[in-house]
């Protein structure tokens, strides 16, 4: 019996990862280039709108690609991703809740948005690798 899932999930997962990585790289590169362009050249309004729009389009494309690829995952892979997302969400929630105590105690400075971003990505990766190892 052939079920309705992708019959070559591992292969399609690799292809999906490549496309996702390319869109993510495009987002990062256009964002960096845009910041440099605006800071150095001080372009006119239409150019600035374009500079803002291009990374946004790449980011939206990346998001749609990511969500579309989730449909192709089988039930165990979905579970692994869900566990990784749960680890990341709970970890960030706890860190943000506890951070003010550390700040008042003088151990850390003001909370910066990119701290949260790094923590989120780190915990997502940790959760993914941990769940993947458990079901190996």
């Amino acid at each position: 019996m052939i079920m309705e899932h992708d019959t070559n999930a591992t292969f399609s997962c690799s292809k999906a990862t490549l496309a996702q990585t390319l869109w993510l790289l495009a987002t990062a590169l256009t964002t960096s280039a845009g910041i440099l362009l605006i800071a150095l050249l001080k372009p006119s309004l239409p150019i600035r709108i374009l500079v803002v729009a291009v990374p946004l389009v790449c980011g939206v494309a990346y998001t749609f690609r990511l969500l579309g690829d989730f449909v192709r995952l089988d039930e165990l892979q979905l579970r692994i991703h869900l566990e990784a997302a749960a680890t990341a969400c709970l970890g960030v929630f706890l860190a943000v809740m506890v951070y003010p105590v550390f700040r008042i105690a003088g151990f850390v400075g003001e909370l910066q948005p990119y701290y949260v971003l790094f923590l989120l990505v780190g915990l997502l990766l940790f959760g993914y690798l941990n769940a993947n190892r458990r079901y190996r």
Partner: protein, 69 residues
């Protein structure tokens, strides 16, 4: 939950990858089910049962139950 998936697969001379292809899941899923690390969903359990022409309870057994095979 225990299962007899490895035995059934061996009877058919299928590798984990063969079985995964027939079921439309990844090889990691087949391995996790076989080793008891992951209990499959009901649709996947029905798919496995249909593939081997068995009833679900002939393949999947509760932990305390003696092996039916």
């Amino acid at each position: 939950m225990r299962n007899t998936l490895r035995v059934l697969r061996a009877e058919n001379n299928w590798s984990q990858a063969d079985l995964a292809t027939r079921l439309g899941v990844s090889r990691q899923t087949v391995n996790a089910v076989e080793t008891g690390k992951y209990d499959p969903s009901l649709p996947l359990a029905f798919g496995i049962a249909k593939l081997f022409s068995r009833r679900i309870e002939e393949i999947f057994l509760p932990d305390g139950q003696a092996d039916a095979r």
